[in-house]
């Protein structure tokens, strides 16, 4: 099969199955079982809505809790505990407020009343430094967050008792929240696990352990937890859920299992009705043997290769030369080959950093389709690969001429410094490393591969002790800022080391009509402006500018957009997956 055709098929498969996965239907005349067994992952680190940062944990939480908003089967944001999605109201100080009217008669799974106070408590808890949650920054838009996290010169918190500007109004029947800037994704944030309400008295009674025991794990969602061991999580329909009539299956059992082969065997034998990962080396046979059960959907994420802008191995070159070197090496990789032969899971070749599936200002078109004036940052068409390689050689010829450090003749590079590619263990990651080594060797460029154990790898990459490294990013919500603010100078995820060390003094960027700017003066400034912008058009235009600037560095080399693969029994109807990878079974039925 021609690779271009394969690409088209891959995209079609992703999109069509993505829709199928989102638009499940229920009903029919068949009889139904009252229990489904679905596996979302291994034993979770936590299922406390405030502390969770994992996809499997989020799936459990959205079944046991309900936020102000939620997703419907078409993956659209709809009101859940709220009566409807409120409009933003502009305030005199330039901020906006949202008032969510709560549905009448909301109750916890123990039968007690749920009020807006419970949301106030939960949000303050999840955002506060005392909780120290991974996802505390999901609340940074809310007024009061900055006060909460303000520190003095020694790093001590100045206002440990500060609260978010969110309050219960109308006798606990509505929640009013003040947001510093109007953003299109605030309703979406309210559907995120961290925004779920928690019951103050059970949490206060055992702040560390309440979410580890079924008895104290009180929620307000479609299901309640009846058993939680190291083996499994068992949920039963919560009769107090406001939409309990829509919940058809009485029990859900979530066995903890993270061995791909074991998951697959359990699916084959019928023990599990759903598994969230499949053995990578068997994808071909699974896709043909289980064509109806094996699904691939889009996911908000990009697999990429990052270059260290302060790389010691390239210190004899000027930054302008290094940019060309990085771009050249990136262009020499055949992304179509990588997704076909190495990824094998319907991944889509990437030519932007902001992933597939994020919408632009109009709320319809894809942000990535409009990147760089609609062209992407290079072509990933199969037929353009040869041209890409030619462009790469031309770039290297230029560097060879200006630096005199190596030579390029007849498509072969001689005397190029040896670079090291850092990756963690994993068949796919190591196969990509080997492919890269092999491909670049064809041009006379030698790459050494260094494989590190996971924890060590993260430490090395974060500290910037590498030349080139494997990297990947999954967005937190449908807004490109979730991909862009990680590259500001002092971000903990700035693995490329932009604006750090020697790169802090490099003045080669331009923004807002001014040239010769440092990273802090350009990129950091754009991101700050995005975060302060009140106008959607302007915000998105700025985010495109930020990505343009990011890609001029050549230090981000996108490989493919992630996909999410799973297997689901044909007996299940009405289950769906969100682009964040969360799985929704609360409205699903399973045929007997």
């Amino acid at each position: 099969m021609k690779k271009s055709l394969a690409l088209i098929l891959a995209v079609v498969m992703v999109l069509s199955l993505g829709l199928a996965a989102c638009g499940g239907e229920g009903g029919g005349d068949a009889t139904y079982k009252d229990t489904m067994t679905v596996s979302a992952g291994g034993y979770p680190d936590t299922i406390d809505p405030a502390l969770n940062s994992a996809v499997d944990g989020a799936t459990y939480i959205i079944h046991a809790f309900a936020g102000l908003t939620g997703y419907n089967a078409d993956c659209e944001i709809v009101a859940d505990c709220a009566k409807e999605l409120p409009e933003a109201v502009a305030l005199d100080n330039g901020m906006v407020s949202y008032t969510y009217e709560l549905k009448d008669g909301l109750k916890w799974s123990d039968g007690s009343d749920l009020t807006a106070e419970d949301f106030v408590y939960a949000w303050n808890r999840a955002a506060s430094p005392a909780t120290a949650a991974d996802y505390c920054y999901m609340f940074e838009l809310i007024d009061g967050y900055a006060e909460m996290w303000k520190t003095d010169d020694e790093g001590n918190f100045v206002n440990p008792d500060a609260k978010l500007n969110v309050k219960s109004v109308n006798d606990g029947k509505a929640l009013e929240v003040v947001v510093t800037v109007e953003v299109p994704y605030f309703h979406e944030l309210c559907a995120f696990p961290a925004y779920m309400p928690v019951k103050a008295d059970v949490v206060d009674a055992d702040p560390e352990g309440w979410a580890t025991k079924a008895a104290s794990y009180i929620g307000n969602g479609p299901y309640k937890v009846t058993d939680f061991t190291q083996a499994q999580l068992v949920m039963e329909k919560n009769e107090y859920y406001h939409n309990a009539d829509a919940v058809k299956t009485k029990n859900i059992i979530w066995p903890f299992n993270e061995d791909d082969n074991a998951l697959y065997a359990n699916f084959q034998s019928g023990s599990y009705d759903f598994i969230d990962s499949v053995p990578n080396d068997q994808i071909d046979s699974i896709a043909s043997r289980y064509a109806d059960e094996y699904k691939v959907t889009g996911q908000l994420g990009t697999y990429y290769v990052s270059f260290n802008v302060n790389d010691e191995a390239l210190k004899d070159f000027t930054e302008a030369e290094r940019i060309d070197i990085r771009k050249a090496l990136g262009l020499m990789l055949d992304r179509n080959y990588i997704v076909d032969a190495i990824g094998q899971a319907g991944q889509v070749p990437a030519n932007t950093f902001v992933a597939m599936g994020l919408t632009d200002a109009d709320g319809k078109t894809e942000f990535m389709d409009n990147a760089n004036g609609g062209n992407g940052y290079f072509s990933v068409k199969e037929e353009d690969y040869a041209t890409n390689c030619q462009t790469a050689l031309t770039l290297l010829e230029g560097v060879a001429k200006s630096s005199g450090k190596f030579t390029v003749a007849d498509g072969t590079v001689t005397g190029f410094p040896v670079l090291t590619y850092l990756t963690n263990e994993g068949t796919g990651h190591e196969a990509l490393a080997a492919y890269m080594q092999d491909t670049l060797k064809g041009y006379g460029i030698e790459i050494k591969i260094e494989v590190q154990e996971w924890g060590t790898f993260l430490d090395t990459r974060k500290a910037g002790n590498y030349s080139i490294a494997r990297n990947g990013w999954l967005g937190d919500y449908n807004d490109p800022i979730s991909f862009l603010d990680m590259w500001i100078s002092n971000s903990g995820n700035n693995d490329c080391q932009f604006g750090k060390g020697a790169h802090a003094d490099y003045k080669g960027y331009s923004y807002d009509g001014k040239g010769d700017l440092t990273w802090a003066e350009s990129y950091d400034a754009i991101i700050a402006k995005v975060k302060g912008s009140k106008d959607a058009e302007e915000r998105f235009a700025l985010m495109h500018q930020a990505e343009d600037l990011l890609m001029t560095t050549g230090a981000i080399c996108p490989i493919y957009y992630y996909t999410d693969q799973f297997m689901i029994s044909q007996d299940i109807e009405g289950a769906f997956a969100s682009p964040l990878g969360f799985k929704y079974f609360m409205y699903a039925t399973i045929k007997a």
């Binding site: 580890t212 061991t229 190291q230 299992n257 034998s269 060590t456």
Partner: protein, 308 residues
């Protein structure tokens, strides 16, 4: 119980405490030598959050101080909270996992020892005959095959293809395959140990004397020979039982047994310091106890062994 034996026991218990202390010390400092910490992931957490966590778990103190604090708590059997699994006590996680692992481990160990000694004795008795050859080929194969191969093969044959047994350790009958997968290697090893030591014993003069005096062959085998041939098996059984009771990462993952095995591996990968310490101390303690038991058993099997 004589005085000498009591003195021996006290000496061994004291030695065991020193051993565990050394294990704690070495593990604690080596663990902190590995790069990374419990709070890292692909997505870095915000710096202030990180600082707050470092403070909460006392990571900002000098290492020696953290060590002394840990040692002080460990003496009172307080092994702290897991740093990755929020809100869970290390001891709770270990005991819950141990309950699952020990259940299948105990059966597997018993199966391995009994079958191992029986087949080993049979092989020795029929030395160089067909049945000996068969037993040796099979046991060599099981000694050579790593558990992930055995486990995956069992899973594939009995669960996926034949669909005779569930792949899931939580279902009824689901523990049969993990028990077999756990037992095969130690069984094969015990066969080989028993066989070679039996061959040695069967060639001794007193066996010939017993045979010459007309003692029934089965009595010669089980009373005179096996009892003396069992010493190397006891040596092996002590640590084997300790390891098998504390679970196997591979077998538990493959057959979905919520055991302890996984925590040995994942705690290191996650740099979950308190969990690494907890699992290591637990394993060390069980090994020390099993070694002590097997040493005492020598004395009963072979009165010539001098415990002092």
């Amino acid at each position: 119980m004589d005085k000498k034996f009591l003195y021996y026991l006290i000496k061994r218990v004291l030695l065991a405490i020193v051993t565990i202390f050394l294990v704690i010390t070495i593990t604690f400092f080596f663990m902190h030598l590995i790069p990374g910490d419990p709070f890292q992931s692909e997505k870095a957490i915000p710096e202030p959050v990180r600082e707050a966590l470092m403070e909460k778990y006392g990571f900002n103190d000098p290492l020696w101080k953290q060590y002394l604090t840990y040692l002080g708590n460990a003496v009172t059997l307080d092994f702290g909270m897991s740093m990755r699994m929020d809100g869970r006590e290390v001891t709770d996680v270990i005991f819950e996992g141990f309950a699952s692992s020990a259940k299948i481990g105990f059966i597997a160990a018993a199966l391995a020892l009994v079958m191992g000694m029986v087949f080993g004795a049979i092989a020795a008795l029929y030395h160089n005959k067909f049945i000996d050859r068969v037993i040796m080929v099979v046991s060599t194969a099981f000694v050579a095959m790593p558990s992930f191969i055995v486990g995956t093969l069992l899973l594939w044959i009995f669960c996926a293809e034949l669909e005779w047994l569930p792949a899931n350790g939580m279902e009824s009958g689901g523990l049969i395959l993990p028990i077999i997968a756990l037992a095969l290697y130690p069984m094969a090893y015990t066969i080989r140990l028993t066989r070679s030591s039996m061959l040695d014993v069967l060639g001794q003069d007193y066996i010939r004397t017993a045979k010459a005096k007309g003692v029934h062959p089965s009595k010669v085998l089980f009373k005179h020979a096996l009892k003396n041939a069992v010493t190397p098996v006891i040596t092996y059984a002590g640590p084997m039982i300790a390891f098998i009771l504390t679970g196997s990462l591979v077998v538990e993952r493959i057959f979905t047994v919520p055991g302890l095995g996984d925590h040995f591996f994942s705690s290191i990968q996650n740099r979950d310091y308190t969990m690494i310490m907890g699992t290591t101390i637990f394993l060390a303690t069980i090994i020390v106890i099993m070694m002590l038991i097997s040493d005492v058993l020598y004395k009963f099997v072979d009165p010539r062994v001098d415990l002092s």
